[in-house]
Amino acid sequence: MALLDVADLWAVVEAPTGEAPAVRGVSFALAHGRTLGIVGESGCGKTLTALAIMGLLPRGVHGRGRIGFAGVDLLTQPEDTLCRLRGQRLAMIFQEPMTALNPLHPVGRQVAEPLRIHRGMGQAAAYAQALRLLTEVGLDQSARRMSQFPHELSGGQRQRVMIAMALICGPDLLIADEPTTALDVTVQAHILDLVRALVDERGMALLLISHDLGVVAETVAEVAVMYRGRIVERGPVTAVLGQPAHPYTQGLMQALPRLDARRGERHRVVPGAVPPLGPPEPGCAFAARCALAEPACRTSDPPMAPAGPDHTAACIHIAAARGAWRP
């Protein structure tokens, strides 16, 4: 059985004008040792999906559906059960290591804290384990840094601290929400290598959330592409990014800046922008921005259709789209 089994997850934002679904019927499963990436533009529901799994949806956002984790439905668990799971079996790292650490506490204390909360460990034992892990995640001079404050560390060092903090209790599932977006490219590569190595070594499941196709391609085995709260394409990362079947995924691929582009060649972007949240309308959510859209796209939402081995896409034009796509 899968460790994480998300089935028909909705996240509905309460607004004065009515309810607006930000995540609309997302389903995926993730087993121990497997890695899944979720990509999409800002506002497509990636982060809300992650927060729903952690049971930390913001006020005014309601989760519906089912989030199975090790046999229980996280959406129906009371807060104290979730508190026990968080930090212990569910862990998450964030985009901004700058702001995700409490500026007033030394980093060693912050890394050791989950052990003291969940395992009831004494200070000395927890600190010793925190130091071992900080060394393992490659924080240089980790012994000295234990007593330093977040502002004394660089962005990359802080992200290593965050990773150590997330992993200290040996979680089953690690959610990484844009873990490298705020970092320099060189540091980014180190952190991604580290995450991948730790996931392999510990047999954790990894849910990587990113808008960066390069980061996803390097780090995970499977990928799901989200658009306006739905998964529009999913499959092995090589298939989805190598032969994208959904026009939106193709748009994302074409929008990547290329070093080998000829001078003066126009950078191709997905026309339009993600529409603002609102009540659901019939038809394919991407139809308004899609070059292949036809009347049928605007009447009913296309179901997921096979596009290759383990590869599916929610588009009625998969064959036509493939033909039209030029990398």
Binding site: L56, D80, R86, E96, A100, N102, E113
Partner: protein, 277 residues
């Protein structure tokens, strides 16, 4: 520009600290020693001017004014500390609770604060006196109650700016409950704001204690109090103006000192300024 404002804030920190230090020192010394016993009356020596024996002269009962000022400082500080402490503890607890829970509890706490604010403080103090009788305890309760909504609002407002911060989310991800987060993450991060407010509330409390004692609601004779001294000096304004000037000056020194200290602390503890250091 930055340098001069920082210099000014350092100056207000030191001047304010100095003035407050003088008042506190006077109160502390009065515990062990005063020039004369605070309640010793000598009608033969009443309404004297300053002299070597009575530094600031004597009042209409022949009591030594310098002694009364020192002992009055004690009253002001005790009433102020207890009243502000009361308001601080209850107000901050309510404020951070409201910020952590939000929803109906938040509404309830804030509307109660509005109601307390809407009542004229002196009128409520007189009502309270009718119920509890005059005395320092009445003054403490009256001042303390009006400090609760001040601290509740400040604490709630400051806590609400901390809750959306990412390290709070990270703490929740680590499995911490709201109580623990409030204690370990919210309170330390709003402590400086609360400290500055407490200093300023302390100044207001000293003024309020003097006002209530002046009205006869607060400290009762023969216990010395600045407000009572002002009240009693009124009759002898033209005969011995010093009797009104000295306690008035004492109140000015204490209140000015606390306000300067509060201003200085605010700038010294402001993390946006501290970063540049």
């Amino acid at each position: 520009m930055m340098g001069s404002s920082r210099g000014a804030s350092t100056a207000s920190l030191w001047v304010g600290g100095g003035l407050v230090g003088v008042v506190i020192a006077a109160a502390l010394v009065s515990l062990a020693w005063t020039p004369h016993p605070p309640t010793a009356m000598a009608l033969s020596e009443r309404l004297q001017g300053p002299s070597a024996v009575h530094w600031l002269g004597t009042d209409h009962f022949g009591r030594d004014v310098a002694t009364l000022l020192m002992a009055g400082a004690r009253t002001s500080i005790v009433v102020g500390v207890i009243a502000v402490g009361l308001g601080f503890v209850i107000g901050v607890a309510l404020g951070v609770l409201a910020a952590a829970r939000r929803g109906w509890l938040d509404e309830l706490v804030m509307r109660l604060c509005d109601i307390t604010f809407a009542l004229p403080a002196v009128l409520s103090a007189i009502l309270l006196t009718a119920w509890l009788g005059p005395g320092p305890a009445t003054a403490i309760v009256a001042i303390g109650v009006f400090n609760i909504p001040v601290f509740a609002r400040i604490a709630r407002g400051a806590a609400l700016t901390i809750w959306p911060r990412e390290f709070i989310l990270a703490a929740r991800v680590a499995g911490k409950g709201a109580f623990r987060i409030t204690l370990e993450h919210v309170l330390p991060n709003i402590a400086s704001v609360l400290l500055v407010q407490a200093t300023i509330q302390f100044a207001i409390a000293i003024l309020a204690e003097a006002a209530l004692s002046y009205l006869g609601i607060g400290t009762q004779p023969p216990a010395p109090s600045w407000g009572r001294m002002l009240n009693e000096a009124q009759t002898f304004m033209y005969l011995a103006p010093g009797l009104a000037v000295y306690p008035g000056l004492a109140i000015v020194i204490a209140v000015l000192g606390l306000n300067l200290l509060g201003d200085g602390l605010r700038d010294a503890l402001d993390p946006r300024l501290a970063r540049g250091r």
